[in-house]
């Protein structure tokens, strides 16, 4: 109990510091509150999780500290939203803290923009393993599709990465690409999406369907970047990342039951 009390005071202190220091943030806090109520809704079939995360589940059950590493590209870094606190890994940490209030959970952000799947696997030894994670969230595929890397290279890179994590007794889940209407016409994501989902399936790894969700939000006109002023766009990006973090937290809770 003392631990929780301490954490809450710390969180409050950090929050009030931010609010006091930057007046712009108050506005954002209000926007976020309003946003929290509509709950980043997606159709229920997008939230079906049939794969389990056994190592994470054991940690949570034992109420031992949980380290999660989020490795990925620019959408993991979250530069578009303006600060690391607004990137999806941090939003995931906050959402998980709500679900598991008596377990200390940290999500470490290891995003590096514009890396292929192979390049990310090369980073596992220095960026992922030393953090001693029990779960790795691997967001990948965008750079491979943008750069038109051979699908076979992409799949073998995924396989190597999944093997490396699994062999160390660490749970892994994948996050697929971001969706955007306008880039969809010039980048061929379909082959890479199919390949990523199939590799995951063959290895019994859960894929967080970010592409489908973002497409759904786009079709529902939930986050329309075309109709807002340029300075509003970072705020909109922060809202999308927040939704991704929350939905991912829900999926992880389902997989760790």
């Amino acid at each position: 109990m003392t631990r929780r009390w301490y954490l809450r005071v710390a969180a409050l202190a950090v929050a009030s510091f931010h609010l006091g220091l930057l007046p712009a943030r108050t506005e954002q806090a209000r926007a976020e509150q309003a946003h929290a109520e509509h709950d980043c809704e997606v159709p229920p079939e997008m939230m079906q999780v049939s794969v389990k995360l056994p190592h994470l589940a054991a940690r949570l059950k034992a109420r031992e500290p949980v380290n999660i590493v989020a490795i990925g590209g620019a959408s993991t870094t979250g530069t578009a939203a303006g600060s690391p606190e607004l990137a999806y890994p941090h939003r995931l940490q906050l959402a998980l803290a709500k679900f598991f209030p008596d377990v200390p959970i940290t999500v470490v952000n290891k995003g590096v923009p514009r890396q292929s799947t192979r390049q990310m696997v090369g980073r596992f030894a220095t960026d992922v393993i030393p953090e001693d994670p029990i779960l790795v969230v691997w967001e990948t595929g965008i750079s491979d599709a943008v750069r038109g890397i051979e699908v076979e290279d992409f799949t073998s890179g995924l396989q190597a990465g999944i093997d490396e994590i699994k062999n160390r007794g660490i749970d892994i889940l994948l996050m697929d690409m971001q969706f955007s209407r306008s880039t969809a016409t010039v980048i061929d994501f379909e082959r890479y999406l199919t390949a990523l989902h199939r590799v995951a399936e063959l290895n019994e790894v859960y894929v967080f369907p970010r592409y489908e969700m973002m497409r759904y939000w786009s079709e529902q006109n939930m986050f329309n970047f075309d109709e807002v002023a340029a300075e509003e766009r970072a705020r909109l990006a922060a809202r999308v990342y927040d939704c991704i973090g929350r939905k991912l937290a829900q999926a992880i809770r389902l997989a760790a039951q």
């Binding site: 578009a80 750069r147 209407r181 306008s182 016409t185 010039v186 063959l202």
Partner: protein, 391 residues
């Protein structure tokens, strides 16, 4: 018309027309009709059909030129055709540039700024354009014409080799194909780290085998050897590959359905033309060659006519299909991808392709009509096999 080596083989036109329609459909991502093309039902897709038939008809057309008018003339004709393809490729590249620069400059979503830099090449247009002219820069969907162009550029050598002895061509071609399969050689492209999506070192084998069969046809061979063995073997291979791929396609839509041998066989390498693609494709060629005679009635039916016409104007219709699939994809991403709209886009695209093929055929017919002698019917309809482009 009874001599099989000179009458037009409508099967070539028909199946090339089918391949062109499939290429259009497959190039629209997440298109419901793509579940019914070769890509969904076999280990290979329309690209194999297109390249194989192109090799076959090249041997027919230019082999005859070689005999009639000599090596120099035949070479000049092949290179002229390669030049036409090159100009078409550069034209498609211009459209691609327009599409990408427009997307890049009107793009408002900061979430993609860093990673989705689709217009990276606009940072160094002087190099990108040069690389495109050298066929080294091959954006998505602009990768099959460079292969075809390269095949035609080397084709005179293939042609002269075949005249001497088919094995002079077959052995080096097969050896190169096997080396690529074993060592995984690829051809570098632009930007750095890219490779030719259709690896010419591997795909040349398909083009060359098509050409060798076309050459055999000119020499009067119209039937395959050992029909009693080759037919059942081809049938077994083709049906097995069909069932396996069908199970994968169903599995992709409905997960509970098992994907047969998925773990063992997937992914099948397209860039290097894996034998898993090549062998079932040859099986299909055998089945068609033995069960669909050139004089089959359906090839002359009204229903087959639009496809035959598309196959006869293959370069124009191929380019048109690439443009239409980009346009169709754009419509589906802008206005939602509901199934009725998908079907409408497919139907409209195929209709435009049919009508264009019809128009080009009509224009060529009129063009060939002798002036001042209206009453005489043109010979075009029963003319020689063309390699699909205006001469």
């Amino acid at each position: 018309m009874s001599d099989p080596s000179t009458s037009r083989d409508l099967r070539l036109d028909f199946f090339r027309g089918v391949a062109l329609i499939f290429i259009f459909i497959d190039h629209i991502p997440e298109n419901i009709l793509s579940y019914f093309t070769l890509e969904a039902l076999g280990f290979f897709d329309a690209a194999e059909v297109f390249i194989f038939i192109s090799g076959f008809t090249a041997a027919l057309v230019y082999g005859r030129r070689l005999v009639e008018k000599g090596a120099l003339y035949a070479t000049a004709q092949v290179l002229r055709r390669a030049w036409q393809l090159y100009v078409a490729h550069v034209f498609l590249f211009m459209i691609f540039i327009a599409e990408v620069s427009y997307t890049a400059t009107t793009f408002k979503n900061p979430m993609y700024n860093e990673e989705m830099r689709v217009a990276d090449f606009l940072d160094e247009p002087h190099i990108a354009v040069l690389q495109a002219l050298l066929l080294q820069f091959q954006p998505t969907f602009l990768d099959i014409l460079p292969l075809y162009i390269l095949m035609l550029v080397i084709f005179p050598v293939v042609l002269f080799g075949m005249q001497r002895h088919p094995l002079l061509v077959l052995l080096p071609s097969a050896a190169l194909y096997i080396v690529v399969q074993v060592l995984g050689l690829s051809v570098p492209a632009y930007p750095e780290g890219h490779v030719w999506y259709f690896n010419p070192l591997a795909w040349q084998f398909l083009f060359v085998t098509g050409a060798l069969l076309g050459h055999a046809r000119i020499r009067g061979r119209t039937s395959l050897p050992w029909p009693g063995v080759i037919f059942p073997a081809a049938l077994v291979i083709f049906v097995a590959a069909f069932l396996i791929k069908l199970s994968w396609t169903i599995h992709g839509v409905w997960e509970a359905f098992p994907g047969l041998l998925l773990k063992q066989l997937w992914p099948i390498n397209k860039s290097n033309l894996s034998p898993l693609r090549l062998v079932p494709f040859y099986a299909l060629v055998v089945l068609v060659a033995m069960r669909v005679p050139p004089e089959a009635r359906f090839l002359r039916s009204a229903g087959a006519r639009p496809l035959v016409l598309c196959g006869q104007q293959s370069l124009e219709i191929f380019c048109l299909g690439i443009i239409l699939s980009a346009l169709g994809h754009f419509i589906l991403t802008e206005y939602g991808s509901a199934v009725p709209l998908q079907l409408a886009v497919n139907v409209a695209g195929v209709a435009v392709m049919f009508l264009t093929a019809r128009m080009i055929a009509w224009y060529k017919t009129v063009d060939r009509m002798p002036a001042l002698r209206p009453g005489i019917r043109p010979a075009a309809a029963s003319g020689r096999p063309s390699d699909g482009v205006a001469k």
